[in-house]
Amino acid sequence: MPDKKEDIRIGVFLCHCGSNIAGYLNMEELEEFSKKLPHVTFVQRNLYSCSEGGINEIKKGIKEQNLNRVVVASCTPRTHEPLFRSSCGEAGLNPYLFEMVNIRDQCSWVHMQEKEDGTTKAKDLIRMGVAKAALLEPQEPIMSEVQIRALVIGGGIAGMTATLAFANRGYEVVLVEKEEALGGMLNHLSKLGPTMTDASALAEEKVRAVTGHSKITVFTKAKVTLVQGFIGKYKVDIETESGNKNIDIGVIVVATGGRAFVPEGLYGYDGKRVITQLELEVLLKNGLASAIKNVVMIQCVGSRNEERPYCSRICCQTAVKNAMLIREQNPDAKVSILYRDMQMYGVENEEMFRDSKVKRVRYINYDPANPPEVEPDNVRVYHALLGRDMDLAADLVVLSTPIVAQDDANVVSQLLRVPIDENGFFMEGHVKLKPLDFATSGIFLCGSARFPANIREAVAQGLGAASRASIPLAKGSVVVEPIISVLANEDACRGCGLCVALCPYGALEIQNTEKGRKVHVIDVACKGCGVCAATCYQHALSINSFTDKQIEAQVEAFLN
C-alpha cells in the first residue's frame, strides 16, 4: 500500500481500441500530452489495452516502473473497469488505485468528424482522470453472506425452466405466478413451431416437474409486494392466497413475459371474423370450423410503426406455423399472408417457410403507406408486382400483433429498482456482455420479459439466467464494491439524521456511541450514490473514490 508521503507515480495507458479511438483522435499528441501531466511517470499506447497483451503491459508497468496509480484511457468503465481493476490487483496494486478515462464512447465515437476538437477533449478528460488518480486511496472489498434461496417471478416457460434449473442444482426456489395456473402464454397456444410440439403437453410436463419438486415452493395467484435489501440478503414480501409471506432470498430472476397486443380499432378487429393470432391458436386447439375456407393474415399489425417501432420477431414464425396448421385441418382452405418483410431467422424457421410455400401458402407483400383494407367478404391489397389492387376472399382475417410489455412491468421495475426500456420491456445490464443480468447485482432476467422471444430462446435464457444467478448461491458469499459512503469525520457528525431520511437504500442509521449520536453506514447496503455526502451540512460523510477533494481536483484540472 503506497503511503501518502511516498511519491505518486502514475502510469497512463492509452488504448487505440483498434481504430475505434486511434482512427479519430491523435494518439501521438495524447501521448506527448500525458507525459507532461503532474505525477505521470510512464505513458504507453496499446492497440487493445483489454487484450492479454495490453493487460500484461499494465502489469509490467506496475512492476517495472514502480507505478502506484494506473490510469487507462479507453472505452467505458461500465464494461471494462472490473477487468482493469482486477489486473492491477494481480500485479500487486490495490485495485482502487486505478482510474478509468472514457475517451471512446464519450469522445472518439461522438467526434468522429472532428479530430482536432476530439483530441482536445480527450486531453481534458485525461488531465481530469490523472488529477483524480493522484488523490485515490486504496480500498478493501466488503464481503457479505448469501441466503441460499432463489426467487423467480413469473411462471411461464422461461420462469419454470429457470426454477427447475435452480432446484436441480439443489437450491431452494420460490416461484411466484400472478395467474391461477403456471404456464404463461403456452396455456393459450395449440402447436409450437417449428417442431409442431403440442403446447399443452409441454406446459403440463413442466408444471408437473415444478410442482413435484421438493426444493420448489410455488405461489400462484400471488404477487411480490415489497423487496428490501441487496444481493444475498433480500427480504421479499409476497401476497398469496394463504396470506402474506416474508421470505429471505439470495437472488432474483424476472421472467414475467409479455402479452399479445389487442388491435382495438385496427382492420375492423372484432374478435369474431377479424381475430388475432392468439385467438386463432385457441380455434386451432379446439379444431377449426370446416366452413372456414379462405383465410387472410396481415402481419405487423400495431408494430413497426411510430408508436411501437420494434419488430416483435416471433409473429412471422407464428403466422407461417398457423397457416400450415390451417391447411392441415382444412386441406382445401386458401391461406394468404400479407407481409411487409418476412422475419424467419433460424435454420428451422427458414425451412418451415420454404415448406409452407410448397404447401401453397400464398405470400403477398404490402406497403405500410398503402395498407390492406378489410371489407365484409374480402381483403383488398395493392399488389406491387401486378401494379393493381387485388381482392382476396376472407371468411377469417387473422391479425399478427406484437408481444408487448406486461401492464405492470413498471411496478415490478420499481419494486426491484431495475430499468425498463421505452417499450416497457426490462433492460439488461449490457446487450452483449451481460444479456441475462440486470445492472444491479443479484437480479437476472429471461424470456419475453426482455424482448419477444420464442420458446427455444425463452428456455435457453431461463437456463442461462439460473446459471448466472447460481454463481453467488454456489459461492455462498459476495464481494461488494467498497465505493460507498463513509463517516470520514466522526467528530463533525452531530447525529442529526438528515442523511438517514434521504438514503434511498436504508443504508444509514443513527447509533449511540461514546462520542454521542453518530451516523453509521451499513456498508453492504450502501450503493455509493452520494446523496448523503452532498447533503450533510457538517461535511462529515464522504464517498470512497468520489471524495469532495477528488471531484474538486477534477474540476480544477478541467478549468486549467
Partner: protein, 220 residues
Amino acid sequence: MCTGRVDPVIVAEAFKKGLDGLLVVGCHFGECNYVSGNFQAKAKLDMTRRLIKHVGVNEERLSFQQCSSGEGALFAEIVGKFSKTIRELGPIGGDGDRVKAPEIFKKLEAAEAVLAGEKIRWVIGKRTPFIESGNMYGEVFTEHEFNRAIDMIIVEEIEVQEILGKLKEGAQSVKDLAKALSIPSERVFRNITALKRKGMIKLEKVSGRTPIFQLVPQEV
C-alpha cells in the same frame, strides 16, 4: 455515483474558478438508477440556480436535464442546446451576466460559503417532508411557498457571507458595511447582532460614538 452526489458547493466553486456552464443530466424520475437520487439532485440544483441568479450569474449557466441511456438522440439535443446557450452567453462575468468579472467571483465566493452552510443544506434536505407533511409546527408548504422561503434564506445568507467577507479585509462600522455592500443598514445591524451572538464577530473598539466590528478567527 449519482447526480444526487453533485454538491452545490462544488458547483459554486467551479463557477468561481471560471466555469462558464454546467449541465447535469440525470435519469428520468421513477427510473433513477439510485432510486431517488435524481430528486435530490433536482432540489439542490434548482436552489443553486436561484442562488447564483441572486448573486448576478445568469442562471442559464446551470442546467439540470433528464435523459435515459436509451435516448441518444435526446441527449445529443440537450447537449447541443446547452452548448449553444453557453456560447451565446460568452465567458462568465461578461455580457451574459448581471454582475461582471471580477466582482462576480467575489459574489460566488459568498455563494459557495452559503451553500456549504448549515441553514440552506438543512432546508433543502428537508424539502420533501416540508412539502409533503409540513415542518415541526405542522405547516405544510406548497412548492411555491417553499421557493419563496428559500429565496428569503438566500438573500439573508448571502448578506451574512458578504459581511463576513468584507470584515476579512479589516474591522468596519455598520454604516460603512452598509455602504460598501449596498445593504440597508438596519439589515446589516440585524445580521451583525446575530453574528455576534454566534461568536463569529466581536466589537473591536468604539470610534467616537460608532462601534467598529471585527472578525473572530474560527477554527476549521
